[in-house]
Symmetry: C2
Subunit: 637 residues, 2 copies
């Protein structure tokens, strides 16, 4: 028998048992401790750091990839640790993929639930339906064929569509009808151009479910829905397993195109993630995989391409032409999803490489495209997508915002995870007052925190309008980091949940200003092209992972959002999931999303007509709030 070792894990005081020789990273992952492992255990991303002891309880051959200082303090890369004896392991928050980091969309859902309740007929027909039909028994007066009798009933129930059927089912039809007194349960799904019968069975109720999936680049969220009752059965989140090929879509596309079999690998990773989501929701709702009868996904164009196993390479090369915008409807078995073999997989249509199905889904869920009044949707992620329109027209653009709002490229930046500073201001004594997610010891600062902080620092004179520190303020917290880079100490190492000071550098601020300038410039250009003033926008829907606790006033002060009355801003959170949920409950909502995609015009900011203007707007927007302060009248009191 293999020798076993015990691992004591801190925090949490867990005891794990493993076989001698197991890799520590795998043991932790198998026990649902989600370590960051972006390189997939290659020892190159250095994100799986843990403190482990004693040294003679392991084999470790990671060389010098981990900083010397870290190694001296007892840190190891978990993926390179082979467990050979009992050990103690301490996992720093910064190495953990925090469960809360995945926006399940529960907190911000008031708005969406409201829409679901009011706008949506929950008895709506879904894309997949099961109906119990009584077929009139044939007689010599009416001896139309079995199939036409069935079609006649279906059309009477549901309207005059064409019902296709496969040979395999046709074969069972005559017997089934005659064995069950001309009653039959029919499963059929909407193929958008027609209906397809995909199941026939003896009469009798059996629950079936649809699943909505938001395929985010970083995180994916699934919602299991009962289309008959119009309610949610379970929800689950999971990191996109593609993370091991890189953090953003560009890295994923590069991986897929530069490696033999890379397309298949990124495809498998997203399928794997959906299958884990299926496992989780099945577990929570206690259902069989065959009861998942249809799946609707919303994701950006790259994610959707990888889901279908289609090379996303052309997305990143000018003129940025994706292979498809409207995805074909697949069967689950075609891409090995753990649902019913015949379950149709639907995807939201994109309108281009940079405005994907997630945005269309978001527009659907916001209700923007159904209202007469003019609205704007801003979805903030690595790209910032901006949509303007109403029930008459829709126009969208996308600007590369960079990862600053997700904590990327920021010295103490983290994603919106446990311990992330999400609200912060500096008091009169230059002492920071902070609030962290989950009220945990601070591990870094996330997007909402950065906006809060920079806006208030500028207001209080700690920063000037170009984002440089005012060196005249009297506090030890402001200090030199490198020759041209000052930093402000937010939380000292002793008080932090990590082994470092938490700071905000001038370089960080510059990153944030570039991000916000890109988004504001996109807003400006799109309004400009429409000859609209900001004032004409009645509602601004803010979508995206970081929307929960975002301080609108701070965002306007920073110059990220246009200076409109604050009550025009509506946070709609994970609107991509929300739209997918609507479409799961109602076929007409899904069809509406296709119309939205068709109606929407795409404004390419990098085209000849636009790129110079965009650059001008971008440069002008790199100040706080802007070089032209008259654009922000409310800040001038």
């Amino acid at each position: 028998m293999t020798e076993q070792c015990t691992i004591e894990v801190m925090p949490g005081d867990k005891q794990l048992i493993c076989d001698k020789g197991d890799f520590l990273l795998e043991v932790l992952q198998d026990n649902e401790i989600q370590l960051r492992a972006e390189c997939g255990g290659e020892g190159t991303c250095c994100n799986c750091q843990v403190k482990a002891a004693p040294e003679d309880s392991m084999e470790y051959e990671a060389g010098d990839r981990l900083e010397a200082e870290k190694r001296e303090n007892g840190y190891f890369l978990a993926c390179q640790v082979k467990v050979t004896d009992d050990m103690q392991v301490e996992i720093p928050a910064s190495s953990l993929i925090s469960g809360q980091q995945i926006l399940l969309g529960e907190r911000e859902e008031d708005y969406l639930e409201h829409r679901l309740d009011h706008d949506l007929d929950i008895k709506a027909e879904s894309l997949y339906q099961r109906q119990l039909l009584e077929i009139p028994e044939p007689s010599l007066q009416d001896n139309t064929s079995d199939l036409e009798r069935l079609r006649r009933e279906l059309q009477q129930e549901n309207g005059d569509e064409f019902y296709d059927i496969s040979l395999g089912l046709l074969d069972q039809l005559a017997g089934l009808l005659r064995d069950n007194d001309w009653e039959v349960t029919v499963d059929f799904c909407d193929q958008l151009s027609h209906q397809k019968i995909i199941g026939l069975s003896a009469p009798g109720p059996e629950d079936y479910y649809g699943m909505a999936v938001d395929i985010g680049t970083t995180t994916m969220v699934a919602s299991l829905l009962d289309p008959q009752k119009g309610r949610e059965m379970a929800r689950a989140g999971e990191y996109n397993h593609q993370a091991r090929f890189g953090d953003d879509v560009i890295a994923r596309i590069n991986y897929a195109s530069k490696n033999e079999g890379g397309i298949e690998e990124v495809h498998r990773a997203v399928v794997e993630t959906i299958n884990e989501l299926i496992d989780k929701v099945r577990d929570r709702a206690d259902i069989d995989k065959n009861q998942i009868r249809y799946i609707i996904t919303a994701g950006n164009t790259t994610m959707t391409h990888t889901l279908y196993g289609i090379d996303p390479n052309h997305i990143r090369h000018s003129p940025f032409t994706p292979t498809f915008s409207q995805a074909p409807t697949l069967r689950a078995s075609e891409i090995d999803l753990d649902a019913h073999d015949l379950a149709p997989i639907y995807s939201f249509s994109a309108i281009g490489s940079f405005v994907g199905g997630d945005i269309i889904s978001g527009v659907l869920s916001s209700g923007l495209s159904e209202q007469e009044e003019m609205s704007m949707l801003i979805d903030i992620g690595t790209n910032g997508e901006v949509v303007v329109g109403n029930s008459d027209f829709l126009i969208a653009c996308s600007a590369s915002a960079g990862p600053a709002f997700e904590g990327g490229g920021i010295e103490s930046g983290v994603r919106a995870m446990d311990g992330a500073i999400e609200q912060i201001y500096i008091d009169d004594d230059y002492e920071p007052i902070i609030k962290t997610i989950g009220d945990k010891a601070p591990v870094g600062i996330c997007g909402t925190g950065l906006i809060d902080l920079i806006a208030s620092m500028q207001k209080d004179g700690i920063l000037n309008r170009s984002g440089r520190y005012n060196t005249e303020i009297e506090t030890d917290r402001l200090r030199q980091r490198s020759e041209d880079n000052l930093e402000f100490l937010l939380v000292s190492q002793e008080k932090a949940g990590i082994d470092e000071d938490i700071v905000l550098t001038e370089h960080d601020i510059n990153h944030v200003l570039r991000s916000k300038a890109a988004i504001y410039a996109a807003v400006k250009i799109i309004l400009d092209r429409l000859s609209f003033t900001e004032e004409m926008i009645q509602n601004v829907y803010i979508a995206g992972g970081f929307g929960n606790y975002l301080n609108v006033d701070a965002a306007v002060r920073l110059g990220l959002f246009p200076d409109l009355p604050r009550d025009r801003f509506v946070f709609i959170g994970n609107s991509s999931l929300a739209g997918a949920r609507q479409a799961t409950l109602s076929a007409s909502e899904f069809k509406r999303s296709r119309e939205i995609a068709r109606e929407m015009t795409y404004l390419e900011l990098s085209s000849e007509e636009n790129s110079a203007d965009f650059m001008d707007e971008f440069v002008a927007a790199k100040f706080i709030p802007h070089t032209d302060v008259s654009l922000f009248p409310s800040l001038q009191e």
Copy 2:
């Protein structure tokens, strides 16, 4: 090495080589000598009789299944002969499946070619199309996805339909477009509710073909067509291999339902036959199987069920409800047809168990449903189908006519094969003047001959109106066959191409009268239900295998056809094939056929409302021409 034997075959003076031990039937069949073998070589149908010598050149163990007299004359069942040495074989015409027996539809096509030329735009869009498209290259101003660019071009070319695509093709799209300067050849087929893209390739012409197949119970005929040029490339006929399970649809249904795996067997047999037709037309047109890109079949409801492998059992039990009327569209590979794997297989819709796709196809080809004037279509086979209508309405019924017109149940009856008497009259000296098909030595009398003969015999007083011989005529040719059955000698054995006298018995005449009465009664009932007089019918389209040389005047005299001016009768021959050909060249013709099926009302003659009336009409029509001679005014001069 296996020892070889030489077989000399008469007539034709062929020399065949075979391995010692081969079965004679198989050797002959392998050499394209089509022997009748309805029992499939079981030695039970006794139709594969040949004269063979010498006796010591074979092993023969057929027992006494063949009549003693035949055996004495040197006859053997070919299927039971194992060849052990060189031999001579003589094949009587009655054992041959004659090539001419399969109505290829060449002779009677004047009418149909006329319609094709005039009514059909030969540049019509076919159900399958290949188009070379130039896709505008994307730019930053227009970077819509590849798939949507392709769809845009397709819709511009062909109208606003939805174009579905499979994942496998989507995968190739981006590369193909970029490698070929944005030119691509697209194959797509009409799925009736939408279009489906099923092929993408580098630009370049490649011929492709469609095939129309008439699936007759006895014989099947295929026409290979070039939809781009609107012309026929080849035509071929073949016996339906299902013949080994029985002669008519009832026998086939019985076989299918009473034998384990029987459905699969009858299914394989029809597929096999189509594959042989494909072999033949491919051979003649010198094309590859992958160039056959779509197939359209027309057959009666039982044939269509067996083509799809669907149990036809319910067709023959009251209330005669088929499993389907409108068949699903299949791919060739689903039923192992030797065409391109993805080739769609379309079938004409039926309107019930007894009015099948062959009749709908016939109506289409007749043009009946497009005209304002009122017409009737009569299709004569084992069942007689009658359709009445015009562009406003259509009504159809079907009467069981029995096999008499195909030579079945008639003492000297044969199908319309080489040597069959097809025209005949008895001169003043009671001598028959005959004309046989192919001007061969007579082997029997076929349907047209029977009609000719009985009508003229009654006119000349040889028969009375109830179909009994006038015993007062002075000729040796009239003789007693059995106690209640007289016969008239038509051709004595010495002059015949078979070893028997060719005769016409009173029992034969009775069979013919029953057949014609069933058809005439159907005509009467259908007109009666419409409150129409015969006179209102402007055109009578006569369809079916035996139509070629049918003497209309004789058929009216017999009381088979209503007594209308003779120029209202139009022979349209194998109209089932003709309609299938039209539909192969033009998608709109196929779609029209679906409308025809929907518009057509079925009148069930065996229903409570109709069965008593039908029986009355049937009994009244068993005279020559009818008990009510006033129905046949033209015969009363």
